[in-house]
Symmetry: C2
Subunit: 253 residues, 2 copies
Amino acid sequence: MIQVSIIGSGNVAQHLIQAFAKTTEIELVQVFSRKPELLFSLVPNHKIISDYNLLKAVDLIIIAVSDDAIAIVSAQITLKNQLVVHTSGSVSMDALNSKNRHGVFYPLQTFSVSKEIDFKLIPICLEATTRKDYQILEKVAKSISDVTYNINSEQRKALHVAAVFVSNFVNHLYQIGNELCLENDLSFDILKPLITETANKIQTLSPTQAQTGPAKRNDTQTIKAHLSFLTNDNQKEIYKLLTKSILDNGKKL
Amino acid sequence: MIQVSIIGSGNVAQHLIQAFAKTTEIELVQVFSRKPELLFSLVPNHKIISDYNLLKAVDLIIIAVSDDAIAIVSAQITLKNQLVVHTSGSVSMDALNSKNRHGVFYPLQTFSVSKEIDFKLIPICLEATTRKDYQILEKVAKSISDVTYNINSEQRKALHVAAVFVSNFVNHLYQIGNELCLENDLSFDILKPLITETANKIQTLSPTQAQTGPAKRNDTQTIKAHLSFLTNDNQKEIYKLLTKSILDNGKKL
């Protein structure tokens, strides 16, 4: 069994704890949190600690805290030459304190505490400084997921930006769709099959092949009608910019 | 059996033909197309016509052509007092020639010829001028879909704009994600589970509850890092505008 401890009790930490509980290959040794009450339902009480001095040497310590806190937290660990990784898409591996061996264990997914998730399908992006450390990370990752990737820091940056576009920004467009429905006495449910199919399509078609709509067709009449329908300046601006971007894309092809 | 004819041979027409073929409640009487060769694999040859004078009186004629062509096509129909509908989200019901009874039969979905689709899950938005005509449309819609809605022209406009946001624009963001992957030697496959989960989440959470990411957290450091990572001006502008929109949204809550 590989011994793993986790620092953190937020979304990612909680999902990792649940995933490790389902595999016999990992022994979850300790979980550090300043808010132990968040963990009472997930971890046996004697494994929860709130004092860095109590952290035991294990095969791997995973820091799953907010980006800003990673450097501070890693500096507090009193162990030495311990393999320590963080789970962030946007923080450099070197943000981790140099007294320990370091790496990255980045599950590329959008986590909400209230929403269960099948970890087996989540790509885990791994980075380490030695082959031996990489193998430890790979074993841990493969115990909970079917998809692992070796991703260097530069690639991880690109991936994180791409993830913002295809997930955070996409969700914001869902929100605008929801607003337009509310304003017109329509149930957002009407849009849900369309949202599902739009995501399904690019599992087999490229986004270029999958593109449809007035901008793609250069249907200026419909575009004009939509712009005059929209009364919210912010929605209008987003409509204009994305329409222009799709049109420009069409010209490049 | 309800007798239905279709005018058109594009995406929507082809998907409708396939859906009607699966139900015993509909008899597809004729399909009109200027390009009959597109239909040879879908419709028995004797049902394909290219002359408007050959159109027979039926319970319903569905015009499934591009938005611009709807008015022209409906004027060519030589029948009178025939129930004629179009399938467009953005064209007014009154665009249909007044010599016939008219209505709208708008399946709210993104269609690609090369991608099969389960019509049962597609919401069909219906509009008619009399209760009797509405009942015909409802019967036809219910024979191929589990979800039908009575949507008036103003609501349909809103719905079409909303659909552009949650489908066409969303797909364009997928495309930008794809570009960022290509530029950094990453497979777009890494992003696919994230895309799926982002769409799945809002089936049970509201988009506001589902929102995550640096803009939602007001994580200015990550936002700055992302902007300096992006070299393409267009991508940068989209990143800025959508980030600002998410930030402004947070302030309203």
